[in-house]
Amino acid sequence: MRSWISAAVVGVVLALLPFAVGSYILGLLVFGFYYAVFAMSWDLLFGFAGEVNFGPSFLIGVGAYAAALLNHYFNTPIPLCLVAAAVAAVVAGLILAVPALRLTGPYFGLITLVAVLLLQTFIVLYSGITGGEIGLDLPDVFANGEVRANYWIALAFMSISGAILFGLSRSAVGLILQASGQDRIEAAALGYNVTKHKLAAFCISALFSGLAGAMLIFSQGTASVGLVVDIAVGVQAIIGAVLGGRRTIFGAAIGAIFLVAAQELLRPLGQLSIFVVSAFALLVILFFPGGFLGAVGALGGVLGRSAR
């Protein structure tokens, strides 16, 4: 209950933010919000289903490019593009889920990595159609590019996705997923259909990743490999999720937004900014493996004990 209330308070503050800050910060937060959805979807798959997906940008990229191609070549309206992105991403999720049900650990991790590399290679190879490295410009942009509206769309999308993913993780389904992620055989012995639940986790994770990817490109008005497919995109989502605290969903969102903001704040350092952010993330992982939320929880525990 407490996490719902604090999330609601944060949501209200964020919704009122456009009246207080300039368009530069809003533009940055739009990025942060979509990355937050990437990280939360990844957390559902890793934290709960126990599947190490190194290629979240495969799901993100498939969704984004399905929408981008439809919009660029057929002028399909945005809502239809988003539906197409969701369908394409779920199909991609099923393609990933099939090996995941047979392989474990590093083998599955490698397959997801290869999936990203293949997608990227094919996009660059067929650059005549996909725009390759340069990217594909989109005729339609959210709210005609108006910054505040763009911000609210991103915020609403993140809030809804976050609420659904968090609710799901706290539901019976989430518990069964967690059980089958930790001990597949025992979960199956208790009578749960592990395969069905894992498939569902893949589909849900893919759905939100793909939608977020498609919405990100419509907020920017362009789709490119560097924006939605590159391994660095997925790595940033993974680091965000681990940094914020895995298996918490909300923590993943906090970590992802923090990463985007920190890199921007440290921009004066030039190339060293990524170095500093990575070093910070490494220190958090080594000394506070529970991430931000884990550290806050531990602190709360200490304070609570000393108060008593």
Binding site: V52, L117, L118, V235, I239, Q271, I274, F275, L282, P289
Partner: protein, 291 residues
């Protein structure tokens, strides 16, 4: 003629892949660690060789030695600063150590990559060839450097084989890979063996990095690709199987060379990736892996 060219070029590049992958597979086999900063360590070694050869007047050979030393020190630092704290941590549950090691070696690699880009820019750097000039092999003009690359790679691999199978220390490594608890019960300190393996790995990665820098050139921008290709070779051959890695390195090297020569250089990595997917789907333990 072209067939001979493919045969020779493919052999050189495959030997380099084998050398690059063998350290990676050794670390996994003995310590159970997949080191995602592998590419960064190789590139650091090459950049150290490149920078010191001119700036410090170390010369080509001095630079190469400094490069290998840099790779070794960095590998030991990776173990001491990143991997060991996680392995000993009580806050991280045992079943999650793998993902923590993967994430933190990845972050460590990114840090090295950014540090190199900051101090030396991410322009491609070519280490001066250890041997200049060309030689005719069966009518194919081949740079001496290419011949030397293959020769040094195989010499290093041979030495590792001797070390593992013919020395007492090597047998301890083998035992640690098979049954670490058994080894501990016999009174051996596991930690010493891990330090030895990481040092050995550093030497191998350092040599591979310097040779790569002289053969193809390196840039901090392709660190990720290097790690991914070592990872692919090792999984294709079977995680932890040294022979498997050697075979897989040749499969990958020749497949890429054939594709580059006969189809198009731009898609040289595609057949490898497809083969990898096919092998992992049908035979997850790799070509020669044990389960």
């Amino acid at each position: 003629m072209q067939a001979l060219q493919i045969l020779i070029d493919g052999f050189a590049i495959s030997s380099l892949y084998a050398l690059g992958a063998i350290g990676f597979t050794l670390i996994f086999g003995v310590c159970g660690v997949l080191n995602l900063s592998h590419g960064a360590i190789m590139v650091t070694a090459a950049v150290a060789a490149w920078a010191t050869a001119d700036a410090w007047h170390a010369g080509t050979y001095g630079g190469a030695l400094i490069g290998v030393a840099a790779g070794t020190i960095l590998a030991l630092a990776t173990y001491a600063l990143v991997v060991r704290p996680i392995q000993r941590s009580r806050a991280i549950p045992a079943e999650e150590k793998e993902i923590f090691i993967l994430t933190s070696t990845l972050l460590w690699g990114i840090m090295l990559q950014e540090a190199i880009a900051y101090f030396f820019t991410d322009n491609p750097k070519t280490v001066r060839p250890l041997l200049p000039g060309v030689v005719e092999i069966l009518g194919v003009r081949t740079p001496w450097n290419e011949v030397l690359t293959a020769a040094i790679s195989w010499a290093a691999i041979g030495l590792v084989w001797l070390l593992i199978h013919r020395t007492k220390r090597g047998k301890q490594l083998l035992a640690a890979a098979i049954n670490p608890r058994g080894l501990t019960l016999l009174g051996f300190e596991l930690e010493n063996i891990y330090v030895l393996v990481w040092g050995l790995y550093g030497v191998l990665a350092g040599i591979a990095g310097v040779l790569l820098g002289a053969f193809l050139g390196v840039s901090s921008a392709n660190i990720g690709t290097l790690t991914a290709s070592a990872f692919s070779v090792v999984v294709l051959g079977g995680l932890g199987s040294v022979t498997g890695s050697l075979v897989a390195a040749y499969v990958v090297g020749y497949l890429e060379t054939v594709t580059a020569y006969l189809v198009a250089p731009s898609i040289r990595s595609v057949p490898v990736l497809l083969l990898l997917v096919a092998v992992v789907y049908t035979r997850p333990q790799g070509l020669l892996g044990r389960r």
